[in-house]
């Protein structure tokens, strides 16, 4: 790849063009003409992936605000995987539910653009704009089934609280700007590093406000309230997308902001995040126990996973940063696949996402049940799956930073979380199919391919993680 000033934005551009292409294609589509719009999107995402690979280790930077360092590229790759899987699952759902295909895929792709931007941004303002791009796209995706009042309600809650939180986030940016005179992370970092540790209340307020913004996006307690409702109301495939993509992007930015710009103040923010992490892990797992809707349950589970990721952030050492990346990838693949199963089991009229809808699934659809089980076990952190290595990594980060307490709380909550994952397994394997239920849907084609691919990745990451661990480790070596 040539060295041009625009290198760093190439992955993003690929996706943007794919999105635009999708919109164009939709515009020129005949009334009942079927078009592989998703395929276009996948092409764009693959382009992004290829360009990210080419950019690897080059530390490219464009406009001074977008840095395609390995860290950002790793997250980009993760997001690409999330995007591809989402599109594959969506291809089934869009046709089945009669969603506006062009807008749908375009929004997904724009959301991915926002996510990539957020992950590679080096400027608080750009992060804010990226955040808004992905948020607005996801709000709309959440409510894309306009005939479903629950979806609309979910979109509304998500939107309202999202806007509310972004106001706080913006306020935080304002204070940061006021104190340091810039929104560029490197400049802020330099400024703060030069400061004596005199605790300026303004910078603490700024940290607090930024924390609120990020905590909202990664649904840390007590900013998590939107999560269960939005996840439950949204179409399952969208839930899978937002529970992974948004979280990954937000975490990338979170990590970058707090471990580069605000690194000198880690003494100040670490205890706060410690509290958030503990509350998040505990509340996420505990309340998950009481859920009977699988989507809602997985929502709480994803809250808890946010908590584990925070643990990596607190550890704030090299292990921790790489662990966040690996965990994000493992979690993303697993969660997308899990929601994919739910999405594939739904019909146009019924979401089929209650626990009892899974009863006896094994007897009717053994393969689907097995794939779901693998996902759940991975989420629960059992070997030999990706989730296990991820947890291993995160907790070794905590331990090597001396946070034994966090590690212990983390592992214990993960045991509790296994309980509710197992409830699904129990339903699928150990209960007979509720006679009142219709036979589960047939799954084939692209959806199944996507599922199997995810499972392969889950096992690959669980058994032979070396390569990816290397990448994760390289990712953090280039920056901060």
């Amino acid at each position: 790849m040539m060295d041009t000033p625009f290198n760093a934005v190439v992955p993003m551009l690929c996706v943007v063009f794919a999105a635009l292409a999708v919109m164009m294609a939709e515009a020129f589509r005949g009334r009942d003409e079927q078009m592989a719009l998703g395929g276009l999107g996948i092409v764009g995402l693959v382009g992004a992936a290829v360009s990210s690979m080419l950019l690897w280790n080059r530390n490219a930077s464009s406009f001074g605000v977008i840095v395609a360092d390995n860290f950002g590229l790793f997250v980009t790759m993760t997001l690409v995987i999330v995007g591809v899987l989402t599109i594959m699952f969506s291809s089934v759902v869009v046709r089945r539910d009669g969603l506006p295909a062009g807008e749908y895929y375009a929004l997904v792709l724009f959301a991915v653009v926002g996510m990539i931007m957020m992950a590679t941004a080096n400027d608080l303002l750009v992060i804010f704009i990226a955040l808004e791009i992905l948020s607005l796209a996801v709000y709309v995706l959440t409510g894309i089934r306009r005939d479903d009042p629950r979806a609309t309600e979910a979109a509304f809650k998500y939107f309202l609280l999202g806007a509310f939180s972004s106001a706080f986030f913006l306020y935080g940016i304002a204070f940061t700007y006021g104190v340091s005179g810039s929104t560029r992370l490197d400049r802020i970092g330099a400024f703060l590093a030069a400061q004596s540790m005199s605790d300026s209340p303004l910078i603490l307020v700024a940290i607090g406000m930024l924390l609120v913004g990020f905590a909202f996006k990664i649904s840390a307690v007590p900013f998590h309230m939107w999560t269960p409702d939005a996840y439950e109301g949204a179409p399952a495939v969208v839930t899978g997308f937002m529970s992974t993509g948004v979280k990954a992007a937000a975490f990338a930015a979170f990590t970058r902001v707090f471990l580069s710009a605000f690194e000198p103040f880690s003494v100040d923010w670490a205890p706060m995040i410690w509290i958030l992490a503990v509350a998040t892990m505990i509340l996420g797992t505990v309340v998950g126990v009481a859920q009977t809707n699988v989507k809602r349950m997985l929502a709480y589970s994803s809250i808890a996973h946010g908590g584990y990721l925070l643990v990596g952030l607190i550890a704030a050492n090299d292990v921790g940063k790489a662990a966040i990346l690996f965990y994000l990838l493992a979690y993303a693949v697993t969660n997308v696949a899990a929601f994919g199963v739910i999405a594939l089991l739904g019909t146009r009229d019924a979401a089929n996402d209650e626990l009892r809808d899974f009863s006896g699934l094994w007897h009717g659809r053994p393969a689907l049940a097995a794939l779901m089980t693998v996902c759940l076990l991975s989420l629960g952190g059992l070997p030999p799956t990706a989730g296990f290595i991820g947890k291993w990594y995160i907790f070794s980060a905590a331990v090597s930073a001396g946070y034994y307490g966090l590690a212990i709380i983390g592992v214990l909550t993960s045991v509790v979380s296994v309980f509710f994952y197992l409830r699904v397994v129990v339903m699928m394997y150990m209960e007979e199919r509720d006679p009142g239920l219709a036979a589960p849907a047939h799954v084939g084609g692209v959806g199944m391919v996507a599922l199997v691919a995810s499972i392969v990745v889950i096992f690959y990451l669980g058994v032979l993680p070396t390569r990816v661990l290397d990448l994760a480790a390289e990712s953090i070596s280039t920056i901060f």
Binding site: L382, F395, S400, L412, S414, V415, Y429, M430
Partner: protein, 523 residues
């Protein structure tokens, strides 16, 4: 390569079975034979390992090491010494029997059942051969999954509760071990600059006593739950009772041993000072378990529960032997693990046969079976006696050695543990009496069939093994001797344990003892 084969064979077998199409159960028969064949091959492999094993060496043998996750210093690192060797063989031995036991009782989803059993075997063997803590933990946790399904799908009426309880209880203990493992790796990296989970390297790690205490507790909790040591035992009756026969056999035969094996391999040698500090407390729990388990077993109305509680009692002996930290205690402990695997495995197997015939396990539902099933009764009697610890059968050797070891260490524990000897006779014979003696009280029992040839195929090896282990224990004691001695030395070298020198010694003992003391002195 042989060691890797020993866990890979069942795993590959399981994967192969996965490929066999069996939607409507037409190929059940073929699958059963396939699974049995695979497990027999695996058994043959373990026997091959034994044959090639050098009993004179205390070193780990058949060592294989491949870099796996170099970032953390995680290797695929396996090897066995005399202690794990026998447990691996035990696993290989019991799995075909477990599979055989399912032929009569598992009617649905035979394929999946066989797959889970084979996967379970792979994980169990993996646990015993791992010399890398990470690898060990992977197998340790992976083992839960097939067992969970075995209990949950093919178990009895409260199977789901039991399965979840089993899984969560065990996990709750093992995750703390996970933290401790990570802590060890971190300490190693702090000391030497590199992460490692290599057990042998960690053995030589110098850990501050305070830290040792915490790590020891974390490790030991995991193992204590698995053993299960009083008061962490309540998952056991549920899991045992609800599990299908094959599950119970493996659960009692192998799974519980993973806990005591863990104590021997990890808790004690990794943290010798903490072990010395906590040993009396552990032993106290063990002794309570011995008596308590026996007393509670005595009043159980359910045969499986009775045998389950008896396991609590028997395993208490094992822990006591380990705590004694001398040759007899530790060898006895390992021996008792094997013996318990055979005799309790056999008991569960046969209780399962009764349960298959009558669909109940309540003692009160039986009576006078000797009249209708004389062969079965005879086999059951042998297992009962083995469980009681009659000399000449397998149970005695282990128990006696343990009590000997414990007596040399702290006589009070041995004295208390000995009560278990009395009580085991009480509860086992009482059950035996109520089930087999007396007139036939239930009509349904009058038509029960005696042992079938296929069932004999499962029962006979166990009976034979019980007898062989009782009459020729040196076959099993010899291979582990060097390893246990090395372990004992390691434990004693780090602490000032008074090695009691007998007043009278035979010349060869003299030599042995002096070499031991010299080696201690040289450290």
């Amino acid at each position: 390569m042989l060691l890797t084969l020993s866990w890979l064979v069942p795993l590959v077998g399981a994967l192969l079975l996965l490929l066999v199409g069996n939607a409507d159960g037409r190929r059940d028969g073929m699958i059963r034979w396939l699974a049995l064949g695979v497990s027999l091959i695996a058994f043959a492999v373990t026997l091959g390992v034994w044959a090639a094993f050098d009993p004179a060496s205390a070193e780990f043998q058949f060592v294989e090491r491949h870099s796996w996750i170099p970032q953390f210093g995680i290797d695929y690192f396996v090897g066995i010494d005399g202690i794990s060797l026998l447990l691996v063989v035990l696993t290989g031995f019991l799995t075909p029997i477990a599979l055989l036991s399912s032929w009569g009782s598992i009617e649905r989803k035979v394929k999946e059942f066989s797959i889970f059993i084979l996967a379970l075997e792979a994980a169990m063997v993996g646990v015993f051969i791992s010399l890398d803590l990470f690898l060990f933990y992977v197998f340790w946790d992976a083992m839960l999954i097939p067992m969970y399904f075995l209990i949950g799908i093919w178990g009895y009426d409260r199977r789901v509760y039991a399965a979840i309880k089993f899984m969560l209880y065990t996990m709750a203990g093992s995750v703390l071990m996970l933290v401790a493992i990570l802590g060890m790796a971190y300490l190693h990296s702090a000391a030497t600059g590199s992460y490692t989970f290599d057990l042998l390297k960690l053995y030589s790690l110098d850990i501050a006593p305070q830290t040792q205490m915490w790590f020891f507790l974390a490790f030991t909790l995991a193992f204590a739950i698995k053993v299960p040591l009083f008061p962490f035992h309540t998952w056991l009756p549920d899991a045992h009772v609800q599990a299908p026969t094959a599950g119970s056999v493996i659960l009692a035969g192998v799974l519980l041993k993973m806990g005591t094996y863990g104590l021997l391999r990890f808790s004690f040698p990794l943290f010798p000072e903490a072990a010395a500090y906590f040993a009396p407390w552990l032993a106290l729990l063990a002794v309570i378990g011995i008596i308590y388990g026996a007393l509670v077993a005595m009043v159980q109305p359910d045969m499986k529960k009775l045998v389950a509680y008896s396991s609590v009692s028997h395993l208490g002996f094992v822990v006591l032997g380990i705590c004694a930290m001398n040759t007899q205690g530790m060898q006895g402990a390992v021996y008792q693990m094997l013996a318990h695997g055979v005799s309790t495995g056999g008991l569960f197997l046969m209780v399962g046969m009764l349960s298959d015939r009558r669909h109940t396990r309540l003692i009160a539902e039986f009576g006078g079976l000797k009249t209708v099933m004389p062969q079965f009764t005879a086999a059951f009697l042998i297992m009962t006696l083995a469980s009681i610890g009659l000399p000449g059968l397998n149970g005695f050797v282990g128990e006696f050695l343990i009590m000997l070891g414990a007596f040399r260490w702290a006589p009070a524990f041995a004295v208390a543990a000995g009560l278990g000897v009395i009580l085991s006779a009480v509860y086992m014979l009482w059950m035996f009496q109520r089930v087999f003696y007396g007139p036939v009280t239930h009509e349904a029992n009058e038509t029960l069939t005696d042992l079938q040839p296929r069932e004999w195929a499962g029962v006979l090896p166990l009976c034979a093994m019980a007898l062989v282990m009782g009459v020729f224990p040196t076959i099993f004691l010899k291979p582990m001797e060097a390893s246990v001695d090395a372990l004992v030395l390691r434990m004693q070298a780090t602490q000032t344990v008074q090695v009691e020198i007998p007043v009278d010694r035979r010349p060869d003992d003299e030599r042995r003892l002096t070499t031991v003391t010299e080696r201690v002195a040289r450290r």
